[in-house]
């Protein structure tokens, strides 16, 4: 056999082995688990059944949790776009020392554990936290935020923002600054320049950022667990409960796979839009 043929395979094989061992194998085991029988008296049983999936799809409770997860993840993504895109634009326009400083400020939250940040938000949004003290001071009175979707969304946006800023910033870096001047010289207003010239060129960045934020938000565990409490169940916290409290492993596995399928569907759909509209033009 020619060495030129085997060498590439030899070089990728360690990564491939790691991927198979750490991702594909657990995934396959989870899939197998989801088809096994379960009863509260005897635990997990051998055998094959689709009843777990049937029960899950037939129970409105699970639909509700999936629905809530979807809208919380969507809202988080939307807010990240609204905050992150202008943030990235401002960042790309900054001068030499400030750009690095603010980039660090944006990335800094990633250096702090999600658990710590979740407790931090708990303090800020709690009944006697800063926000409520302020609301009382201006005369609105206390608002219940902790253990509501508000707290979850606020904390998720905070955690996810860097994942939106970085791809958008990267696509802004590729922009020729003269292109904006060209649009101005042709009579476009600043807003029109942004809408017609800058935005279309950073859309691939927005889409990939949105994809990352959505996928991570939809499968987030710590933040909904700590700030959503027992009431605001999201899919990941539900899986956690099934595995560790109910000990219904097959159900937990089935929900996990359902989440994977939904996330995958969203990703492939977004990618199709990206391929169709932008690859051709932007290369």
């Amino acid at each position: 056999m020619k060495p030129g043929r085997t060498l590439p395979y030899a070089l990728v094989s360690p990564a491939l082995a790691l991927f198979a061992l750490m991702v594909l194998l657990p995934l396959a085991l989870t899939a197998l688990l989801s088809f096994q029988r379960f009863s509260y008296d005897t635990g997990v049983q051998d055998g094959f059944t689709l009843s777990t999936y049937a029960n899950m799809l037939g129970d409105s409770y699970y639909w509700e949790v999936f629905g809530r997860t979807a809208w919380i993840a969507l809202l988080t993504t939307l807010l990240c776009v609204l905050i992150g895109a202008p943030e990235a634009y401002i960042l790309s326009r900054m001068g030499a020392p400030w750009r690095s400083i603010f980039l660090l400020v944006i990335l800094a939250p990633l250096l702090v554990s999600v658990v710590v940040r979740a407790f931090g938000w708990g303090l800020v949004l709690g009944p006697t936290g800063f926000v409520n003290q302020f609301l009382e001071w201006v005369g609105i009175g206390r608002v219940r935020m902790l253990y509501t979707p508000i707290a979850v969304v606020v904390a998720l946006v905070h955690v996810m923002l860097p994942f939106m800023v970085i791809p958008v910033w990267t696509s802004l870096q590729k922009l020729d600054p003269q292109v904006e001047n060209a649009a101005l010289s042709l009579g476009a207003s600043r807003f029109t320049v942004w809408r017609r010239v800058v935005l279309p060129q950073v859309t691939p960045g927005l889409l990939s950022g949105g994809l990352i934020v959505f996928a991570l938000s939809a499968s987030a565990l710590a933040i909904p667990g700590l700030l959503g409490g027992r009431r605001i169940k999201m899919v990941a916290t539900l899986i956690y409960d099934e595995y560790l409290h109910e000990l219904n492993w097959p159900l937990g596995a089935a929900i996990a796979l359902a989440l994977l399928v939904v996330n995958l569907a969203v990703m492939l759909a977004t990618n199709a839009v990206l391929e169709g509209n932008y690859r051709k033009r932007m290369g």
Partner: protein
Amino acid sequence: MSFLVLEGLSKSYGDVHALIDMNLAVERGEFVGLLGPSGCGKTTTLQALAGFVQATRGRIVLDGRDITDVPPNQRGLGIVFQSYALFPHMTVAQNVAFGLEMRQVSRSERERRVGRMLELVHLDELAARYPRELSGGQRQRVAVARALVIEPPMLLLDEPLSNLDAKLREAMQFELRRIQRKLGTTTLMVTHDQAEALSISDRVVVMHAGRVQQIDAPHRLYEHPQSRFISSFVGKTNLLRATVRGGQLELAPGLRVPLGNSGGAHAAEGSVVTVCLRPEKLAFADGAEGRLAVRVEERFFLGSQWLYRVSSALGELEVSCANDGRPPHPEQATAQLTWPDDVARVLPPEPDA
């Protein structure tokens, strides 16, 4: 009053003076080249004219209207950028139509004008392509079409040909000039390439270190440079020292040329002046008695001509001769140089040199 007037235009960045007291008057329909090395202030001038840079001092008056403080999107100038700055997400036709769209030109009128403009730059076949599918020369023509379709009072070209290869650059030079003549748009072109500036401009503004050095028609600029800098930046030159004696220039003992046409009439008797002798004005006196004995040090074949580096009593000189088919002078050979009486140019004394 001229069509475009720059009055005492200056731009400073802190202590750095990018542009110092620029005065320029451009007539309607004129093609003016702004020529200079990088950092000479030519780009700053263009940016101030376009409105992307706010001048520190001075005024810009276009067609009788003071536009010094008008924002760039209300100046209505057509600009061709060095990078072309095409909109990568729009087709050629959409790129060209953008300026008309901003002016709320109706769709049918827009299509008509875009079509006519693309025809003018020979791109009508490629209207539906995206910029990344075009060659450098084609992108450049899209940029020109996009700037001209809005029928701007003035066209600004920022190093428009610097990203093209040599062959294409030459073709585009004449193409630009043809389009400009046809439409009669007053044009200002910034360039660092002297050949480009000389070949297509009506007048050339030479800039150096933020200041205007000379404003003249291309051949006058070449034949009568007003400073050392221009004589060496525009074309090649041999700079010599000479002493004014009895109405003649003495380059060396026994070597004199008439002062007559040299532009040194004002020079006082006995003063030392700098003289510029263009390499192509010098010739080998084959057989005949020449003015100066030289020895050929090196020679370079440039196709249409030979470039010689020779040593002489006046120091090292450059001589260029048309390649007329005769065998060239070999290296290390001795020869006699000659030149007509009226080709030496006396440069004015440098203010602070």
